[in-house]
Structure formats: C-alpha cells, structure tokens
Amino acid sequence: MMARQTGIFYLTCTLIIVTSGLFFGFDCVYLAQHVTPAIPAIGGALFIFVMATLFRTSFSDPGVIPRASLDEAAELERQMEVPNAGSPGTYRPPPRTKEVVIKGQVVKLKYCFTCKLFRPPRASHCSLCDNCVDRFDHHCPWVGNCVGKRNYRYFYLFILSLSVHCIYIFACVLTNLILRAQQDNFLTAMKESPASVIEAIVCFFSVWSIVGLAGFHSYLVASELTTNEDIKGSFTARRGADSFNPYSKGSIFKNCSQVLCGPVPPSLLDRRGYVVPDSSQAHHVSGPETQKERESNSVNVRHEYYGSTTVTNQKTGNMGTNTAPDLPPPAVVTTADEMLPAGENVKKREMISYQTPDGTINNKLPPLNGTSSPPTCGGRKNHIWDMTLNQLNYMGRSNNHAAIHGTNPGSVYPQPYRHSDYLSGTSVLPAVKGNKSTMSRGCSTDF
C-alpha cells in the first residue's frame, strides 16, 4: 500500500537503522561493560517496537474505501440528477454534497468523482494514493503512506516510541561520552568514539520535531480529532456555540482507549479479487498487484478533477458519464475554462498533497516523476499544470475572452483557443514572458 514516492520512506528507515546500528555497535558495548547490561536490552526492545510499528504503518491499508461498483454509481447518479437549466455553453455540475446529521451535528458529505461515492464522514480523498481513505488523518511522506482509520494507532505508537528511542539513545550517548571524559578530557573522548558524536548530532536535531509531533498527536488522540479536522478547524468554537466534535466519546480516557485499544477494522480491499477492467469501473481496484490499473485509472481521474471529463470520454469511450453525459464535444473547452477562474482545484490539490504536521515538506512543489511512472501519468499531471497556467495567463491578458466564450460555445473559437494550441506550450503565448520557465515544461504530447 505504498504511494508512488517512496524515497523519503527509505530515508526514514536509513536514519533509524544507521543511528541505532551505530549505537548498538559502539556505545552499547562500552556501556554494557561499565554501567549495566540492561542498556542494550532496553534499547533493543525499543528498536524492535519502533521498526515493527513503522512497517505496520507503511505497509498496511490505511482504510481505503473501495470504489463503488457500476450499479451503485449509477444509482447515486440517478438520485443526484438535477434538471440542467441553461444554455449548453454554460454547463454547471449539479451540487454534489449531501448533508447528514450525526448526533445532532450537521456534517456535509462530498461526492468523490474518482471513487464514485459520497465520502463517509471523516473520510477524504488522498491525491497521492488516489483513494478515499476513511478517517483520513494526513498523508505522511516519512512513512510513505496515508495515515487513516486502520493505521493511525500504529502511526501514533510509532512516533511515540520513536521519540522515546531518540531520547534514550541521546541520553546513553551523553553518558558514554561523559564517562570516557572522566578518564581523560572531553576531546579525547570524542576522538575515541566518533560514532557517538554522529549519533548525538542526529538525535539532537531529530528529537525536537519528533517529540513535538508526538505531543501534537497526543492532543489529537485525547480529543479524538484528525489532523485534517484540526487544520480545517471543523469543530472549533469559532464556528458557533453549538459546534462540537460528534466523534468524541466524552472523556479523554475513553478517547485514548478507543484509538489505542479499540477494535481493528479489517481491510475492505479484496486483494485476491479479480480486477474488473475500466469498462465497469472496478470496485476491487487497489493493492500492490493492481498497480497498473490504478495508474491507468488515475489518468482518467486527473482529467475529471479539472472538469474536463468529456475529453476522457472520447479517449476511453466509457468514462466520465457522471459529470457531463449529454455534453457535445465542442463544449470541452468551455467546461475547462469555467472551472479555471476559480483556481480552487489547483490550490486544494496542492494543499492536500503536501500538508504534514511537522511542516517540513509543505513548501515543496510536486516532484516530477515523469520518468518513473507510465508516460501517460506523471507527464500528464504536468501538462495540466501548464495548461491551466497558460489559460490563466491568457485570461489575465485579454478581458474580452469570457464574452467570446459565452456567446460562442461551438466551433467558432478565435485562433488561440484551439486545443492544439493550448498544449503547445510557449508558442501560443509569445507575449507572456514572466512565467516562461514554468510554462515551458514539456507539453508535446497530444490529448
């Protein structure tokens, strides 16, 4: 159940294993002889627990909600269908939210276009894993997986035990250095065991963020919140006096025992199940052995995200029936443009993908992994980035653009609006110079 970017996960593993290895190899030997043999024993137990919870977090299903079957999606479509009033050029998707009352608190459920379902309360769609995850907490790049309903416990225990492990190693290393320094001076002690110095530096710098994170998650566990809800401030007092957290059990103790010792919901993914090809919108999709299918699905998904499902429709012949089933092909550009001025989609996506509670990865741009994934996927992501940028720029330059659009939904676009021009990068906008570097990222493939 690993997402595509696993580099940081290996970094986490290496850091923990190398630091602990140095500790066991050098400091423990000295400390076991001079202080007590309990030191390596406790350290070993901690190390095993840390690694076990780390692997549990990384390799277990975070609580992915399987995608809806074809009939189910069709039924939801039927329920949601709203008469489409308005000219064909100004298509607006029907409102896709549903309100439910949970213990007297109104909670809005959003429809997920990718998974074709109304996300249950507390669930959210992870753009990196491309799945809806129940009780979505956040996507943690350090463990290379989403943190959700099924692995939050392991994640919390991982950071808790890691902070203890970190403090333990730091304390032992200092003891080691001080004991050695008593026989001689401090500099010779550092020369005698250079490994201790490395460990001390690693521990000193990592302990702050890890302990901080553990403290933050302890607060979340005690109040039965997720990072996602905490960041959004879903149940804070600001939103009104009667806003409370409907998921809380009432007391700190009950919340803790619910998270740490509560029942373990089994994975709902059918890993051994057959994969229904795209034509019937597989509901078994996910799991390591279906990576290929997921990738190809995610291509379609990206399109839908930006509101241009009709393009997908043409390409795959069976997708995109949800947003614009009766839209004539020329309206593609219109739909895409309508979504654009809001610019919300782009921002939202960026936020979800790269929020981490420790804030270290926050500001990085989405990495370009066009080479590692199939040519349609990684590259495609960037095309859309570029496309939207181009269009936004163009919008900024010419104000009459919208007017042209409203009146001419058909094929009478002025020259720059043709599809091929959108995708040919810089050639379409020779006048815009400011953003050239951003736009010129490869846009050579066709739709």
Partner: protein
C-alpha cells in the same frame, strides 16, 4: 454459489440501502423499507434482517473487554500477533457473511431476492438484488 451469484447479480435490478450515520461513524445501515421492494417481501422480515446485521456490526465495533485485551496483547508483541490470529472484528464480519447466506437460502431466494454481504461492497451499501427483474438500461 459464488459464481452463480455474480452472474445473476450483474443483470438484475438492484436496491441499495445506504449507511446510517446518525449514531456516529460506526457501520450501520438504514432500515427504512425501500419502495422498490413493495409487495416483494414482508416489511418485518427485511427489517429484522437488517437490524440483526446492524447489531452484529455494533458488537464488532464496541469497545468490550475482549477487544481491549486483544489489542493490548497485540501491542505487547509489537503487533506481530495479528499475523497469526483473527481479530474480533474479522470474526464478526464472518458471522455477518454466514448469517446473510443463511437468510438468503431460507427466506430471500424463495421470494426472488438476494442480499449481498456489505463487506463485498466495502461496507458502503447494503445491496439487494431483485432476481426476477431484468435491469433496463
């Protein structure tokens, strides 16, 4: 049985009962009687079945002493114990599967209906197939 179910369920009309979130995020299905089943099955029978299924899920998700001990024991073994034991929740899901199969055999198939185990649908919906009706699409 499994193959046959798949074959027939792909063509027939389906009725979906959605999740009921009024009590929280626990698994629970609405026991409102769907209009499409009017005249096909007795209201009381369907309601009883759904209530039974709901109560098994409630049992699975409640924080009983047993789950508590189970989780603590697993934690002691650094969660390696989960590799070789079924959790209480999994046992409950199997119980639901058995119950639904039995209900299908004894009651529903005779009435031309078939219940689908919600676990097969990711616990999103409770699906009821009307075997006698072809899907019109």
């Amino acid at each position: 049985m499994d193959n046959m179910a798949r074959l027939s369920s792909s063509q027939c009309t389906k009725v979906f009962l959605q999740r009921d979130f009024t009590e929280g995020t626990g698994v629970r299905f609405q026991n409102k009687f769907p209009q499409e089943l009017e005249g096909k099955i007795d209201r009381a029978i369907l309601e009883r079945t759904i209530n039974t299924v709901n109560s098994i899920y409630l049992e699975a998700e409640s924080l009983s002493g047993r789950t508590y001990c189970e989780s603590c024991f697993a934690c002691m073994t650094a969660y390696i114990a989960y590799l070789c034991m079924d959790t209480h929740y999994e046992k409950c899901l199997k119980k639901v599967a058995r119950y639904i199969e039995e209900q299908n055999k004894t009651v529903f198939v005779q009435q031309g209906l078939m219940l689908v185990d919600p676990a097969e649908r990711g616990l999103r919906v409770f699906e009821i197939c009307i075997l006698t009706e072809q899907q019109n699409r």
